[in-house]
């Protein structure tokens, strides 16, 4: 509704301006680069229908008034714009050949190179393709935008980040997430780059192979994402206002009980089948009344729609105002952005204000100062997990107007949780960066940079006694948690760039950096309040004996590095790159303080060979690349290599005293986590995980670079994996961290881009991105000391990993030698046991071999289902991912369609048989389906391939339409209106809401993926 009014108003405002323009004929001549008159050049007045074409003598004329702009356009040339002077004339114009895309400059670590001179595997993401999309973090928008880059947006919570991988998973206990570097400042793990406004970003580069990423040494093994922010264009001042509103709807119906009668019937059936008494027979159990089916049928009970009480249609707003201004000496970029993200649960909110300030100033002709500053304020109010699937028979209110509770232990009324739970986190994230660039002599430049980041969060939690049994027993639970993070980086490097004669071009870079990080936290909990009025506002009002203070230490790490790179190009045909980085870290063990990370690459511009000149008409580029290098993954936490004592409280002389000594609680194990796991013994040899990577690539461009192809093969071997090893019991320690284990990734990826149509009015281009990765766990360390299990039939060594799944009473995934990471391990199921059918096994309890049960497959042929019948039942890693981006434009109207697909991955559907939709289709003697088991409320399910589904999908991820009104007035340059639809449709055989789940392939249910409708406006002044 609002959108319509807005558009009408804008149109009304804009068109009279155009119509009011005075008519006046302007004429002139247009010349080619060599000074000859140029024919066929299109001349237009932007924002109007007026146009002309130059004749054979380069002459043209058009109607335009003083102050209006005239544009000159010819394919393969730069577009030139001239303003009609007060005297109504325009100077003669000389067209210039447009720079080839191959001459684009690509940012690499500690420098930039021409795209054509790249020797490593670096992908550049076109920022304009993603700038109209809505997401919390910039890096979450990169899904499908670069080959070899995997982005998973599995959480739809407001403010949620994304999971990002480059060329697969390579670590088990360390991080697998690429490093994000903004303007030379390493910001840590990718997936949560929320501080930088999309509209401030100039370019995003993905460093994939070792030649590109090894310059980041012990942090480069997972690849690097480089983000560079914009600088204003000289002599221009622009103000941009951009606003977008996103309305999210659920893309599928919720899987809950809509018909209370069916729910009650199913409930009774599953109780009776389990040999228990049915509930819905008109009885009170545990204080809860369960009406009989007849009572339900007679409509004596309510049919509450809990979703209406819990959920809403989320409307997210995103507003950006930016000011860009530059003179010959200085440039300023100031951007403010407000992002208000709303979740589907009422009161589940995320609000953020970002201010980015960039400033560059030429102090001296050869000395430039630049600074980049970020202020990011976030407010997260968590209100999720409201029970929208609550029993529809239960009313909302009791007769006295209070909330109706099913019994004294019913704490799950959604309105109670909505009103009485407080969970708010405020974040403050400040980043200040200052740099000097100095050209010492021609060809020798120095860059010095200092960065400081300060991040602080405060979390307020209060759980009223109405919200849980625990809170009720304790008289309210209040928490205040604070964390603080500081990061200082200093960096200086010199770059020497010189051509020796025609054939030799040498670039040398050497530098050093020092990075100091500090992390600390304070967590306080108080319980036992007189009432819930103040919440956590006065922690002192709690029971003094029930207070806990816990400070999460003080983690300091320092990283001292020296690095260098040499680029040598011979005859602009043979390119060589060598890089080296030495990292010394406080985190590494005493005996391994320094790590060295070398890499090398060669590339050959074949198309520049004399014998290839014949093909130059259609072949713009043909380049072969090869690289090899070693990079690291820090993995280790601060103090992990040191010995560490534990402490306990001991009752002595009538009081508690703190007692201290060797042995530190490193974790828990056993049922209910009742047993301690003891660590704390030092390992001075502990070091980084190492990745050796080889890459072979080809870059090709055809037809004046209108068709471009990049393809890469890679092989990554990650060894010295950080693993825990068991120690003999008599040592009094359970585990020690060691480097032992190997994972390999190999793959193939390519990108094809084509500018299929490119005329003045029409453009059509398409891009295809394809990534294929094969991951394999090669070695998990010594089988005995690593505590590996053995598959009884095949001898496969494995260890259990991933989250525990209560439905199966076990963890879903394993890491197995010779297999991809996180494969699923369990039983096979061959349909449902039918009446009179031999299930093929005998269950001693006589429960599992009855008709209606899952027909487990007795793999070892002993007529019993035992742990020996387990095998690999699924692989969550996709065979390949692909995306297709189609863009078309006609004058100022542009349309783009983006498709994204993941193929060949398995998803474990946790809770499948608990779903109302599935329960309704259950096996009964009258409905002898082979797809769904009978109902049974106490059946213990085994993890089996019955719960594994094909997670392949192809999604129409985004369709965008935009129109730009070129106004061309002094105070108003243009207005652009756009709209897009996210997640329009998903083609999949997966039975749940959405198959896009985490890397472990476990589907947890939740709610359907949003379909997002965005409307936006961008005004350029």
């Amino acid at each position: 509704m609002n959108k319509k009014i807005l558009i009408t108003l804008l149109l009304a405002a804009v068109f009279p301006l155009v119509a009011a323009a005075q008519n006046n004929t302007v004429s002139g001549t247009v010349f080619d680069v060599d000074g000859t008159p140029m024919a066929g050049v299109s001349i237009v007045v932007p924002g109007t229908q007026k146009g002309a074409v130059s004749d054979e003598n380069g002459k043209w004329s058009i109607d335009a008034s003083p102050g209006e702009k005239v544009q000159f356009w010819f394919i393969g040339y730069e577009t030139i714009e001239q303003t009609v002077g007060p005297d109504g004339t325009v100077p003669d114009v000389t067209m210039a050949v447009s720079a080839d895309v191959l001459d684009d400059v690509v940012v690499v670590g500690y420098g930039a190179v021409k795209k054509s001179d790249l020797t490593g595997s670096v992908a550049t993401v076109k920022v304009d393709a993603i700038s109209d999309l809505s997401a919390t973090s910039v890096d979450g928008l990169l899904q499908g935008r670069a080959a070899g880059l995997q982005v998973i947006n599995s959480s739809q919570d407001p403010g949620a980040g994304a999971t990002i991988r480059i060329r697969g998973n390579s670590s088990i206990n360390g991080s697998n997430t690429p490093l994000v570097v903004v303007n030379g400042f390493p910001m840590g793990d990718a997936g949560a780059l929320t501080q930088i406004n999309t509209s401030d970003i100039e370019s995003i580069e993905i460093l994939k192979d070792a030649s590109a990423s090894a310059i980041y040494g012990s942090r480069g093994a997972n690849g690097v994402i480089l983000v560079t922010t914009k600088n204003a264009d000289e002599g221009k001042t622009t103000v941009t206002v951009k606003h977008q509103t996103v309305v999210s709807t659920l893309s599928a119906p919720l899987d809950i009980w809509y018909d209370p009668m069916l729910m009650a019937q199913v409930s009774n059936e599953e109780m009776v089948n389990a040999g228990l008494n049915p509930l819905y027979i008109g009885q009170t159990i545990g204080g809860i009344y369960y009406p009989s089916l007849l009572e339900i049928q007679n409509g004596e009970w309510s049919n509450t729609d809990w979703t209406k009480l819990c959920l809403r249609t989320p409307v997210t707003n995103n507003t950006t105002v930016s000011l860009n201004s530059a003179t010959a000496k200085s440039s300023l970029n100031l951007t403010a952005n407000y992002f208000g993200d709303r979740g589907i649960y009422k009161k589940d909110n995320y609000d953020r204000l970002n201010i980015n300030l960039g400033f560059t100033y030429k102090i001296l002709p050869k000395l430039t100062f630049s600074t980049f500053n970020v202020f990011s304020l976030t407010n997260r109010q968590v209100c999720n997990g409201l029970e929208y699937g609550r029993n529809p028979l239960w009313p909302v209110y009791a007769e006295d107007g209070s909330y109706w509770k099913a019994g004294p232990t019913d704490f799950s009324h959604p309105l109670v949780a909505l009103e009485d739970k407080k969970d708010k986190t405020k974040g403050r994230d400040f980043l200040v960066s200052a740099a000097f660039d100095w050209e010492i002599i021609k060809g020798l430049k120095a860059h010095t940079q200092v960065d400081y980041r300060y991040k602080n969060t405060i979390q307020d939690i209060y759980l009223s006694r109405t919200t849980s049994q625990d809170a009720f027993d304790n008289g309210g639970i209040a928490k205040i948690n604070t964390t603080r993070y500081q990061d200082v980086l200093t960096e200086t490097y010199l770059t020497f760039d010189r051509k020796f004669g025609e054939d030799h071009h040498l670039t040398l870079m050497a530098g050093h950096s020092f990075n100091y990080e500090q992390n600390r936290g304070l967590y306080t909990t108080a319980r036992g309040f007189v009432n819930d009025v103040l919440g956590n506002e006065d922690m002192n009002a709690s029971d003094p004996e029930l207070r806990q203070i816990y400070n999460d230490g003080y983690y300091v790490s320092k990283l001292l590095s020296f690095y260098g790179r040499a680029n040598y190009s011979l005859k602009d045909r043979y390119l060589f790159t060598l890089t080296m980085r030495a990292d010394g870290s406080t985190k590494f063990g005493k005996n391994n303080k320094w790590g060295f990370f070398p890499s090398g690459a060669v590339s050959w511009k074949m198309h520049k060979e004399p014998w290839m000149q014949g093909a130059s008409k259609w072949l713009s580029e043909l380049k072969l690349r090869a690289s090899y290098g070693i990079s690291g993954n820090q993995g280790i936490n601060s103090y992990q290599t040191l010995d560490r004592y534990g402490s306990e409280k001991f009752y002595h002389n009538g009081a508690w005293t703190t007692v201290i000594g060797p042995g530190y609680e490193a974790g828990r194990t056993g049922a209910n986590d009742r047993y301690f796991v003891w660590g704390g013994i030092m390992n001075p040899d502990l070091r980084w995980e190492t990745t050796a990577q080889a890459d072979l690539g080809i870059d090709a461009a055809f037809f004046n670079s209108r068709l471009r192809l990049t393809a890469d093969f890679y092989y990554k071997n990650t060894y010295n994996l950080l693993r825990e090893k068991y120690l003999p019991l008599s040592s009094s320690y359970d585990k020690i961290w060691v480097n032992d284990g190997t994972v390999e990734n190999k793959g193939f990826e390519f990108t094809i881009d084509g500018d299929i149509i490119s005329t003045r009015d029409w453009t059509f281009s398409a891009g295809l991105v394809f990534s294929l990765n094969r991951n394999k766990v090669k070695h998990l360390g010594d089988a005995i000391s690593s505590g590996l299990s053995t598959d009884e039939r095949t001898g496969m060594l494995y260890e259990v990993t991933g989250p525990a799944i209560s439905m199966f009473n076990q963890n879903a995934s394993i890491l197995a030698e010779g297999q991809p990471m996180n494969i699923f391990y369990g039983y096979r199921v061959d349909g449902i046991i039918q009446e009179g059918q031999n299930p093929g096994f005998i269950d001693p309890t006589a429960l599992l071999d009855r008709p209606g049960e899952l027909k487990y497959v007795d793999l070892d042929g002993d007529f019993a289902i035992t742990s020996k019948d387990r095998c690999i039942i699924g692989d969550p890693n996709p065979d390949f991912t692909a995306s297709l981006n189609l863009r078309a434009s006609w004058r100022q109207l542009s349309l783009s369609i983006f498709l994204y697909g993941v193929f060949g991955n398995d998803v474990l559907y946790n809770g499948y048989t608990y779903s109302p939709r599935v329960k309704a289709k259950r096996w009964t003697p009258d409905n002898p389906t082979n797809d769904f088991p009978s109902l049974n409320s106490i059946r213990q399910y085994q993890l089996s391939d019955y719960f594994i589904q094909d997670g392949s999908f192809l999604r129409i991820q985004n369709i965008s339409l935009s129109y730009e009104f070129l106004i061309g007035k002094k105070w108003l340059e243009s207005i652009r209106l756009y709209g897009n639809i996210d997640n329009l449709y998903t083609f999949t055989r997966f039975d749940g809401y959405d198959p896009e789940v985490g890397l472990d392939g476990i589907y947890w249910g939740g709610y359907p993926k949003f379909r997002k409708f965005t409307a936006g406006i961008e005004i350029l002044f």
């Binding site: 040191l642 001991f650 040592s731």
Partner: protein, 502 residues
Amino acid sequence: MRHYAIYTAIAAILALSACSLQEKSYGFYSGDNFYKTEEDAESGLMYAYNALNYLEYLRGIWYVGDIPTDDMYPKSDEPGDIHMLENWTVTPNTELTHYYYKYCYIGINRANMVIDRVGNGNFAEDVRNRIVGEALFLRAWNYFNLVRSFGVCPVSLKPISSLEQTTSPLAKDIKEIYDIIIKDCSDAIDMLEVNKSFGRVDKAAAQGLLAKVYLTLASSKEYGAAGYRSLDIDVAATYALAAEQASHVVGDYEGIYGFDTDLRHIYDVNAPDGPEHIFIMSTDRSGTHEGMYTKIPLQFLPNNSSVPIFIKYGDGSLQKGNGNGWGVFLINDDFVESAFLTTDKRRTELIHRTIYDQNGIEITPSPVRGYFTSKYVDPDFIGERTSARPYLMRFSDIALVLAEAAGPETGYPLVNAIRSRAGIGELTPGLSLADFRKAVIDERKRELAFEGNRLFDLRRTASVTRTVQEASSLTEDEAAFFPIPQREVDLNPNVPSSQNNF
């Protein structure tokens, strides 16, 4: 030149900011910053005591000491490996013996650290003697548990703080371990004073422990228990050594240690400083997590759907207990009914089969699944938090050690004192030395029932298989020790996989 200077200055400052990569610990204690002061030493010592408080070790007292014997059995639906202990099917992979074994060594390493750092540190002599003396006791205590449970096992007398030290050598025989225990106890006796303190040990405890050690050696040799047959000791002389140490405890500290005249007072959770308690575990219900407090009563008491239960005593008094017990540890009917006279107060006052409500009315239908003991009841429990403690060394235990070691002449009055407290008549007079010793061990069965002693008394008298029905298919040698846990065998190259423990 101007900007050259500016630039160089900036770059130089930044370059100098780099500094040492040595990591300094912050916010936690380590070998570098601890054991410097007397308070540190005290704290480190109590950390060694605290090893006893962990669930894995604490429950091991009954898992090892009583469940495999004729006095107790676990409820049938208790999950886990407890039935392996009950049924004498313990393997190297049994979880509960694995944990018991592990915690013996955790106690030893904590004690070793105190002995090493305080023994060699700069402390006043009296402080050092007291702290090192108590640590020596604890080391001996843990090795004594190990050797009686597992036989020959790895030995380390130095704290373990590097990877190279984590594979301790195996003792070459049982004697090597006993030599360590005897030396530690003897040193502790020399270093400690008599200083009764709740939760801690003193000279009397060290003497009591040494007495038990000698008695174990003497009786094991006498009865030909596995592992002890080839020991080169003189049985009579070793009994005499046991008697000598026990006689100090029994005779030297009148007014400090002695018989508690009131049987129920021994088990009064609010009287841990009674004269009977030479060593009792320190714990209190005001703690915030298990280990600080215990849930021992829940292991013993029946489940009354969370409604507190009441136990009725002979004088009509009621004692409140947790109503949410798990009733895991049940007492064999046969043990109750054949070991005790019906008038024995240790049966009538300490073993029950009925529970009552707060008005003294019996709860029916009764949720009680078998006989249970009221030795571990805390009427002042807070939720699941209780102060109930295991009785690690009682005066009556050492008195019976003295009786058994010294024989009838010294022993009759001691045994009769215990019997009279229990309200039963005197022991048949005029028994021979051998018969008297048998009678004392029989008395231990009643007096120390459910206190973690029974298995060791059966093993040292080589009478497991004929006493415990579940062990009847084993040979006495097979029942003499539990197997060393698999993880030790797998990861410690000094422990052979075919280790037979003796």
